[in-house]
């Protein structure tokens, strides 16, 4: 089975749950988690409406029209206003037959454009980033080479910027995605002499208000870059996770569901409700977490005051005095909470008049 590239969703899943070993192993090994989820009988619920797809595509085409003239103008205006304005846009040719070929063409085009010293647009370049020991291919919407030889990542998104503001969750996700491209570009840059600087402010282009006109914003991705670099570095510990697995574990969707479930269960997961929005396997993991009575399945924050108690039954037993030591502050607090709750509910049923 061919390994899947590390796409935007895999990166989002990494950000949302960096501690999950199951996700780390499957993503690191390039397993198709959607197919796996189907085979496990808990299909993922991600899909894209063709209306959204068509609109997004139309917007990107519009932004990049005229050989990227408008896009280069926006990069100049927002990120590099002191440079000479772009007059004639160079658009690099990146055509190749496969990912490796396009990656090589991209690196070559970046080098040539940097040496040439003008404005160059790379439309859908291909970048490779070493993730867990093997290259993951990444495809930014665009990369711009400035006259001073610096490089900028451009992200084109279809969510709107309305009166100067955009959905912060979506901007955050775009910034994390762009930060990965920055890291990958830095790897390309490091192979050049002198290495060009990859700018840590990226250009985010979104539709403006209710129109199809572009609204461009500079987004500082230094934080996201630092965090993602660290998280990706951790992925190299995959061998450790894999080493703990029984011999011969395989995640092929062809396997019978029972065997597959056992194989997946062999890798520990740390399910939290946030996974539902990012990970294809979330419904499967949720069902397993609920079956095991894990309290974090009800939200990460639920565990904050529970100390070492991890399951629904443990907590309820402690709260109702059936288990746990009174001098454990978590147990003591639970019992106080249970008593106060019971009193309040009794008071409310006994009389309509609340506490004076």
């Amino acid at each position: 089975m061919p390994a899947r590239p590390l796409d935007a969703r895999a990166l989002a899943a990494l950000a949302a749950n960096p501690g999950c070993r199951r996700r780390a192993l499957l993503d690191g090994a390039g397993v198709d988690k959607a197919a796996l989820a189907d085979a496990l009988g808990a299909p993922a619920a991600f899909g894209q409406s063709q209306f959204a797809f068509a609109r997004g595509h139309a917007f990107e085409t519009r932004v990049k029209a005229d050989g990227g003239a408008e896009l280069l103008r926006l990069v100049h205006e927002r990120l590099d206003p002191t440079a000479e304005p772009p007059r004639q846009a160079e658009v690099a040719d990146l055509a190749a037959t496969n990912n490796e070929g396009r990656t090589a063409r991209t690196a070559l085009a970046l080098r040539e454009a940097t040496e040439a010293g003008g404005w160059t647009l790379l439309d859908h370049p291909m970048l490779a980033l070493q993730v867990a020991g093997s290259p993951a291919f990444l495809e930014p919407d665009a990369v711009v080479v400035h006259p001073d030889g610096t490089w900028t990542v451009v992200e084109i998104k279809s969510f709107p910027v309305l009166d100067g503001a955009a959905d912060p969750a979506k901007v955050g996700a775009a910034a994390r995605q762009a930060a990965v491209y920055v890291l990958a570009l830095e790897e390309v840059a490091a192979r050049l002499d002198p290495p060009p600087r990859v700018r840590d402010r990226v250009l985010l282009v979104c539709p403006k208000d209710f129109s199809n006109l572009p609204a461009a914003s500079a987004v500082d991705v230094r934080k996201q870059r630092a965090v993602t670099a660290r998280q990706l570095a951790r992925l190299t510990r995959l061998e450790e996770i894999a080493g703990a697995l029984p011999e011969g574990v395989c995640f092929s969707p062809e396997l019978p569901a029972e065997e597959l479930t056992a194989a997946v269960d062999a890798v520990p997961a740390t399910y939290a409700p946030e996974c539902l929005a990012t990970c294809e396997l979330a419904f499967h993991c949720r069902a397993r977490a609920l079956a095991a009575g894990e309290v974090t399945a009800l939200g990460r924050s639920v565990r904050a005051e529970l100390g070492g108690l991890r399951t629904v039954e443990e907590v309820l037993a402690a709260a109702h005095g059936e288990a746990g030591e009174e001098d454990d502050p978590a147990v003591a607090a639970l019992r106080r909470a249970a008593a106060l709750r019971a009193q309040a509910l009794a008071a409310a049923t006994a009389e309509e008049v609340p506490c004076p």
């Binding site: 950000a15 949302a16 749950n17 960096p18 501690g19 910027v161 100067g164 503001a165 955009a166 912060p168 969750a169 901007v171 955050g172 996700a173 775009a174 910034a175 994390r176 985010l204 914003s217 987004v219 500082d220 230094r222 934080k223 996201q224 630092a226 965090v227 993602t228 660290r230 998280q231 951790r234 740390t270 946030e274 990460r300 924050s301 565990r303 904050a304 005051e305 529970l306 100390g307 070492g308 001098d327 454990d328 502050p329 978590a330 607090a333």
Partner: protein, 463 residues
Amino acid sequence: MTAPVDDPAAARLPSGPGAARSGSDPAAAAARATEAILADTLHGPHRGVVVDSPPGAGKSTLVVRAALELAAAGRPLMVVAQTNAQVDDLVVRLAEQNPDLPVGRLHSSDTDAYDKALDELPNVRTSARAADLAGLDVVLSTAAKWAHVTVDEPWRHAIVDEAYQMRSDALLAVAGLFERALFVGDPGQLDPFSVVGAEQWAGLSYDPSASAVSTLLAHNPGLPQHRLPVSWRLPASAAPLVSDAFYPYTPFRSGTGHGERRLRFAVPSDGTGPDRVIDEAAQTGWGLLELPARHTPRTDPEAVRAVAAVVARMLARGGTTVSERSEEPAPLTADRIAVGTAHRDQAAAVKSALAELGVRDVTVDTANRLQGREFDVTVMLHPLSGRPDATAFHLETGRLCVLASRHRHACVVVCRAGVSELLDEHPSTEPVQLGVTVKFPDGWEAMMSTWAQWSEHRVPWRP
């Protein structure tokens, strides 16, 4: 304030211009900064001057000095601070420096609105009505009280203290009262916050929930910005860590060199974890007492007892401090020690654990309430100790910065093992608001870098 911030910066001000030239002398560097600030404040063309002051850099000394010079120049002055304790403290300092200066303390009409000690000061007049204080050289109050004052003629000058802890909307309510102002504050401490959502104004220059300084600078980008470059509080062992982790773009240094401050204990170590971590901290300025990894509720009894044990042993072992303040060793008494926690219930638990050990008079409080205070030795219950997850509250840089920058000699951190794993597993899904300047340092990053450094002073202990 139980711990007077006896700041040597004022005493060390050089007498002539020649003294200011030596680059390596921290006193000279601090003096140059102060002179530049006063020159801009008294004679500059700008309506505002901003001063960033790292922990213990002599902010209060600067405020008092600027107030005295403005008063001497015949400019009626209002001073805005954020809490009543801060206002009272400034009044006392002003009266100490110049007992003849007519000072007004404007206070609220609540009972105990101000420190009754002010009643003993002959030239300090207190009132709940601004009109009663008209004509005095300097009038001081909190931002909240000033917001209810109306004047026909604005003050010529104002000093806004703790301006980074003041919210933009609070400045809006008082800015009409003055023509020009000196804004002083510490950008590394806890940010102001709002209990309701303010996202709709994020990215606007005058976002009412942002800090007063960010609004001021967004609208007046040309204002001179100064910083005090020397911490007189933090020892040479602490300044680089605090500066790198919390002030990466505005570094500062310690006013004292390695070895100038010494912490000694008469009674030798008994070999237990608390004693060993005390010795590590006495020698290097930092100590990390690491308890076995375990998820615990906030009031982790073992960690609380460990904090109390460290404090009790420090007192029992007869500590003495030597510093630039005096040649003679000074005893490390309970009032020179503080315990800092993230939560109130943790502080309460530590207090009762200390009481059980018979220890009194040690300050135990949350980071919020320790802001602006100074001690010889501090013991910190690390905000992430025993937590199953980190929240934005626990990762706030200001909180950790306050806890790590209250001491003159040494700081002991008490924590459960597992912090780096917790940080590794922390989801990084922060939303991003367009147009909002990214704040550095990032809490996660600051936690990582401080933890890495403290790990070098680790004393593992199984209580």
